[in-house]
């Protein structure tokens, strides 16, 4: 008699995972990257030299570096971030984590309880939205424009909450290559947001996951760099710059906050071999690698934009991302992208339905996110063409594609 696990599951358990059956043919979802850009030989060399020198330290939890993670990688990061973002950090200010998803979990574990309120962007990272929902935390979506969160909109939300006696636990913001809109918040706006955070005494959680991947290699200073009172918790990752399967991210914060996040990180440390290999690889290669990767992604982005324009024409309003790996597409109101997602999935085209990438699901029903980092140029062309055909068949738009009436 098979044991019936449903009799012991806790209340509120999410539905079961499905068996994995391979990637879709046209994979426009997920933070996957360009396979050919993975620096395989340099990784082999780094693995050999770091393991030869200190491989035996794998015998201890967290190597010889303590719970904050492999010290040489933290030292590289401190130097790199100081240069690229304008922060002033040391290795002691950094906690290495298992990807930025663990960064979100740790910030949330320290700050959030059921019933709390956070402010996020009206279109925002799905992983953050899902976590707020799971924790029973209310996420208030702040309006966006081409410069990211609008200061007037944020001010209104903070005012309204204050009138209701609610102090939000933090403002979650992806200011540099916003996810999913691809915008970069100018420094002036960053200062305005920071001033509001100060006026209302709210911390900011700055998620800088895509910030190394602006196509022109330029970026404003981090909000954390502009802040003088330590109210900004900053996270980044190697998932987008090197490889997502590695699961190495980082948090930068005041010790008050870092020591609490470290205390709720009960995993015996994040994977050390990955930290060691990155710690060995990055000082010599990271900046050149990222510079090359920007070019690869820019080319794919251009193909994605060209093909969307050719196939969807005026039926699609498409973001013009400043970097990163995705575009944000607004279709006519009658296109239900959740339905489009289902039909396209069954035909080998994977897309992110917009409702999962907005604070208020009903504002995203006719939007979608398309990722271009992983598919080849040819797959982008063919997949977007196929998606336009499916969209036309299901919803009557686009009426014309590639100068051919459908």
């Amino acid at each position: 008699m098979a044991f019936d696990y449903s009799t012991v599951f806790r209340p509120g358990l999410p539905p079961p995972a499905k068996r994995w059956s391979g990637f879709p043919k046209y994979n426009f979802v997920g933070g996957h990257n360009d396979g050919a850009a993975v620096p395989v030989q340099d990784f082999i060399d780094a693995a050999e030299s770091v393991l030869k020198r200190e491989g035996s330290t794998l015998a201890t939890y967290s190597l010889e570096s303590g719970a904050q993670g492999y010290r040489p990688l933290r030292e590289f990061l401190a130097g790199y971030l100081n240069k690229s973002t304008g922060m002033q950090q040391t290795a002691d200010d950094i906690l290495l984590v298992s990807g930025s998803l663990q960064a979100l979990d740790l910030v949330n574990d320290v700050l959030l309880a059921e019933g709390d309120t956070v402010i996020l962007e009206e279109a925002a990272y799905q992983g953050a939205i899902q976590r707020f929902n799971r924790l029973g935390v209310r996420g208030m979506g702040a309006p966006l424009d081409d410069g990211g969160i609008r200061a007037d909109g944020l001010s209104n939300i903070l005012d309204d909450l204050k009138k209701d006696g609610v102090r939000p636990k933090y403002i979650y913001v992806v200011p540099t290559v916003q996810n999913p809109t691809g915008t970069v918040m100018p420094e002036e706006r960053r200062l305005e947001i920071l001033k509001l955070a100060r006026d209302f005494d709210v911390p900011i959680f700055e998620d800088d996951c895509y910030a190394d991947l602006t196509f022109d290699g330029e970026r404003p200073r981090a909000i954390r760099a502009l802040d003088s009172d330590g109210r900004v918790v900053f996270c980044g990752t190697f998932s987008k710059t090197i490889a997502p399967a590695l699961r190495v991210g980082y948090l930068v914060a005041e010790w008050d906050m870092l020591s609490r996040m470290s205390a709720v990180k009960r995993d015996g440390g994040s994977g050390a071999l990955e930290q060691m290999v990155l710690g060995e690889y990055c000082p010599a290669h990271f900046e050149d690698h990222v510079s090359n990767l920007r070019g690869v992604l820019k080319e794919k982005c251009d193909v994605m934009l060209e093909t969307l324009s050719a196939e969807f024409g005026t039926a699609a309003e498409v973001s013009n991302p400043a970097g990163g790996i995705f575009v944000w597409v607004t279709l006519p109101d009658n296109v239900d992208t959740m339905k489009l997602f289902e039909v396209a999935s069954s035909e080998g085209v994977a897309i992110n339905p917009g409702a999962e990438w907005v604070a208020d699901p009903k504002t995203g029903t006719h939007k979608m996110r398309l990722c271009f980092g992983n598919p080849t140029i040819e797959e982008i062309r063919d997949g977007v063409t196929k998606l336009a055909e499916i969209c036309h068949r299901e919803f009557g738009v686009p009426e014309r594609g590639a100068n051919i009436e459908r």
Copy 2:
């Protein structure tokens, strides 16, 4: 003005972590392993060959294997576990996780809610006890003897709970090299425990973390192998057999349970480079490596036992572990091992105070766990000698050590 994080922390947050200041001189705590036994060159070779062949797959989350983890490693594990434990599994029955700590978290996340009851061993793994406490779950300690959990004791607890209308969510058991007592549960006892679980319709969580490290290389079949109705969730790890810093463990369970654990594993996959290197290394080397490691650990264990006998004499009742990396020591009632822990820590000797390794803290106040996997032979001798001196100074026992009156 520095932002005051204490105004936004959630209720019930644990105390902050302390800055890491290096390992203690005599390190008898933690699941650390023998540094010289880490197979460094074979790891370098494995990294080179697997990265050359499939390094570019790091560009996708979870490589080409899906959320259950790197398929070649799961295939190795299925074959190895079938041979060593008597289970009949395939790669599809295995979920790779970030160390067995994540295995505990996933089982708990699927099964436990505040107020639930679980049964564990009266002396048990600290990481499990801490998790129950944090979740507000009641842990009932079942009595142990030289064969692990006693069937009569377990039966009494299950009876009493049933009378109170309580169905425990699971029985947590480390049957093969019990932590901390080092015993191995014979097959006959396993069948008795399994029968009780069936009679009371309770699942079993079998933690087999140390099972590969019996000194004689022999082990009974896993409880999961003896079960015909899928009520046993099984976990293991490479932390003890290869290296703890790697953070690669595994869960083996029915799909009903595995699919739920996979659904609450929201980390974007566990570290892939580590899984790849293990997947490449293990088929050719794992069994030889573990066979060699058993000898290394047995020698250290013998030195630990000899030194404890010489230095503590009859004042200490010491376990005679069948394998693994620790001994369990019972001192006279007047020795407060939490105090001993504090004093010894300040003098460079790290021990596990017994109160943290028992279901009912007051039963462990005069006990301690000492790990011998990481220190050298000389450090074991010197450290245990120093510990005896401190214990004598603080508590008057042992009265004699190494034939010298103190």
